[in-house]
Symmetry: C2
Subunit: 504 residues, 2 copies
């Protein structure tokens, strides 16, 4: 008989650059987002969840990955019934906000304070440790031109970092202004206010070069401002082609931070010289600085630092970045600062793309996964979660009894489950309990049933004894106790309390 050939088995793999999150990776993130949402809500921000899918035209092209397919987004075309539109997964939460505000502006309050949290997707080249789906958590104010909106965002960011467990002193929010940078570029001769399109490519290179200051240092940035830079692997990146003194002006700007905000502002005023745009930028920074100082957010938390520029194309005024200042060891064992966990700024033209009308807007985006990694680094989260109490199955015909037992435990607030695998091999049941990090196993065989008792195995103590305990400890506190069936809940509660954790 001719047999049809079976199709090959599918590979059980996430697509390249994607990953799965298990257990506490999921619940710790959910809990952190809940705390952040609480702070945002307290500040008067309302929740928004836009769809993950947008039209490509609505998203616009603002990612720096200009050499990737679809300029860095995952995109596909609708069939004719869907109108043939090109759709894409959102690459951030800001571009969708601009679309949402433009679409619903008649029903939304102005100013509109909103927060949003969820995954975003970037079609980056897959590489080790780089993920193409990650979480962002944003707060933005649309429709407020006042620098008070920017100051509020920065203060709220500081409050948020402290609320999730980053201590004061372990973070610093740095503020700059694209207008000041534009003023400096005017002074350096690579921004002509009469023809803003001239030198656009050069200015883009300057922006990306400054953004790499942390990584490349001043010499690397200077090379990128000039002819270009060859990295350790031999790859050459074309520079902005600035002459030596032009590069000096830009580098002078980048290193303009002084000991106090007032001194930094004074230095910036010198650097922007007669540029109207630059002067406006400096005054905006002065306005934010004075509001934050009045509110008690001093330079231990928020400073003006011209070295911050942010990579995205849509910022038009103030830009912010929150970095964690404590040190960690990188993959090569070298100490380095933890670095950026949040960034944002003012993007006054993003809604205008849709409506033609000026709608000022400003906001912040927290890199959720980076911030979680920081909390793990600080030991704030990441302890191994205690699993459920496991009720073992000694007699498969008495499953109903065991299910009644777990139901009783759950009603008492104890996380519990019955073993659902093949119960034949009791050793497998205890191995299962171990893999689940169970604090205790309950045993009720025919003998126990006849005598009206249950055995409770203390798996935490058992593991400790197996590891290192002396005979004395064993004597003092047995790792398995027998109690009357009616005292199961009370005895388990005692045991869990004694372990210092709880399966509740």
């Amino acid at each position: 008989m001719a047999k049809t050939r079976k199709p090959p088995r599918p590979r059980a793999e996430t697509p390249k650059g994607f990953r799965d999150y298990f257990g506490t990776e999921v619940t710790e993130r959910a809990e952190m987002l809940r705390v952040i949402a609480g702070v945002y809500h307290r500040y008067g921000f309302d929740a928004l969840e836009s769809s993950a899918v947008e039209t490509v035209e609505a998203l616009g092209k603002f990612l720096p990955d200009v050499d990737r397919p679809n300029e860095g987004v995952f995109a596909w075309q609708e069939d004719d019934a869907g109108g043939g539109d090109w759709l894409a997964l959102r690459y951030d939460l800001t571009a969708p906000l601009a679309r949402v505000y433009a679409q619903h502006r008649n029903d939304l309050p102005t100013p509109y304070r909103r927060y949003a949290m969820g995954p975003v997707w970037r079609n980056e080249k897959p590489g080790p440790g780089r993920f193409r789906q990650f979480y962002q958590c944003d707060a933005d104010t649309v429709g407020a031109a006042s620098m008070a909106a920017d100051a509020e965002i920065c203060a709220m960011l500081a409050d948020t970092l402290e609320a999730v467990g980053i201590a004061r002193g372990d973070y610093l929010i740095r503020i700059n202004n694209r207008k000041v940078l534009n003023g400096v570029m005017e002074a350096a001769g690579i921004l002509d206010p009469a023809d803003p399109a001239r030198f656009e490519a050069e200015r883009g290179i300057v922006l990306r070069a400054i953004d790499k200051l942390d990584r490349l240092g001043p010499d690397g940035v200077r090379a990128l401002l000039g002819e270009g830079r060859r990295d350790d692997s031999g790859d050459f990146t074309k520079g902005a082609g600035l002459a030596g003194e032009q590069a000096d002006i830009v580098l002078g700007f980048v290193s303009a931070r002084r000991d106090s905000g007032t001194a930094t502002l004074a230095r910036l005023r010198e650097l922007v010289g007669a540029s109207a745009t630059g002067g406006e930028g400096v005054e905006e920074l002065a306005g934010i600085e004075s509001l934050l100082t009045a509110a008690g957010y001093g330079p231990d938390r928020i400073v003006i630092d011209p070295a911050v520029v942010r990579g995205l194309g849509y910022y038009t005024g103030p830009v912010y970045e929150a970095e964690l200042t404590f040190e960690i060891f990188d993959e090569k064992g070298r100490k380095r600062q933890f670095g950026s966990v949040a960034g944002g700024g003012r993007y006054d033209d993003l809604v205008k793309r849709f409506t033609g009308q000026n709608v000022p807007a400003t906001g912040i985006s927290i890199g959720v996964d980076r911030l979680l990694a920081a909390l793990r680094e600080k030991g704030r989260i990441g302890a191994r979660e205690t699993g459920p109490v496991v009720v073992t199955v000694m007699d498969r015909d008495r499953m109903a009894d065991y299910q009644a037992m777990v139901a009783e435990l759950r009603s008492a607030g104890i996380r519990a489950e019955v073993y659902l695998g093949n119960p034949k091999n009791f050793g497998n049941q205890l191995k299962y309990a171990d893999r689940r990090a169970s604090p205790a196993a309950v045993i009720e065989g025919a003998d126990e049933k006849a005598r009206g008792v249950v055995q409770i195995k203390d798996l935490v103590l058992g593991a400790r004894i197996a590891e290192s305990a002396t005979l004395e400890e064993w004597k003092e506190r047995p790792s398995q106790i027998e109690v009357p069936r009616g005292e199961l809940v009370a005895a388990l509660r005692d045991m869990l309390a004694g372990q210092g954790g709880a399966a509740t």
Copy 2:
């Protein structure tokens, strides 16, 4: 001067079939999911979040929408650097679980109880009220062949519905078994155990026909079992081509529910006759029934009902469906039952696709948006949320003072914000507060400042007075009070408490 033509403005629209969620729509869903996760966790289930993007081959083709592009999923091809794979957005949370378990099975406990919640996407033809992105919330047990796993899932579903606010009596979980259906089809001559591929198309039509019983009634189903059915619009759907007595056997199965589980089981035993598969299915149902009865989940909550079959192609044994039994008015003003909010079943072959080894699995999926709609219908959620207290801006140079004021309110646990729009027109500020559903507005002009007082406007009372109040009420309780600046927090607390709500 030649001007470059500007590109046309993008449309500010969600793609067809997608929508945005605002404010309480987002927070009420998050809260409901938090409650559900709590129940699942208590039952010993662990969180899992798989990536939204999967390879098309890993997802498989199990959706009933066979006539849609890519068989109902949103898909696109990777570029060469990504390996050229076809990727797609997940259409449910079950197919990804099978992939996750196959990929990580050496690191996961067996049985593996996991829950997952998040959006899924279906490339359905856009139509009114039909969304192509929606939330699911699943719990599954992988690696447990025992019917105790199915019983546990059903009991947990009942507990979950009650935990989110569906009262006992307002829901019913109905259980059936695909094996029983297969036994019946064997008896009807459209399933040949020696050649299961024969009549596959006919059996698919039978399945989908039964699944439409609620909507079409017995006559409509009978038409689909026979030659086919012409609907009100004149469209013809081809039937399974069964002869009259064959259709009778199938319809006899669908209406086999009796007054008690025992009676239903006895009737099913008659119907499956000598079919081994059918007999196995009946005994599985009997096993679930007896475990649930022992655990106290009686027919007021969970019943055996052969009319339930579920549409998805991957079920192999027990199937479940939770429906809400209270009545609502449909869009045409007719009373009807609210209907299904959750469904699931056993899918023993889904992991085998990847590994070639038998891995039994069973689970449930809650339609989050439908369940939220039900809670709204029942008045459990959906009350208009109270907005933040709005501190108005009487003097734009004193923004720092107003920000200090909101900071003080927030520290006291009162949700508050300063007005960030153009403060020139005070009427606009009050309109804004109204649109925000603010409970109160705070006013501190030059005069108040000089006298060390603030004005607090009770906007809830103000709205009530404006609507309907008599002069007496107005006298008794003024809608605006003046208090010393130092008593602002205390006075606001009193006012909010008096309103019976809180901006906290």
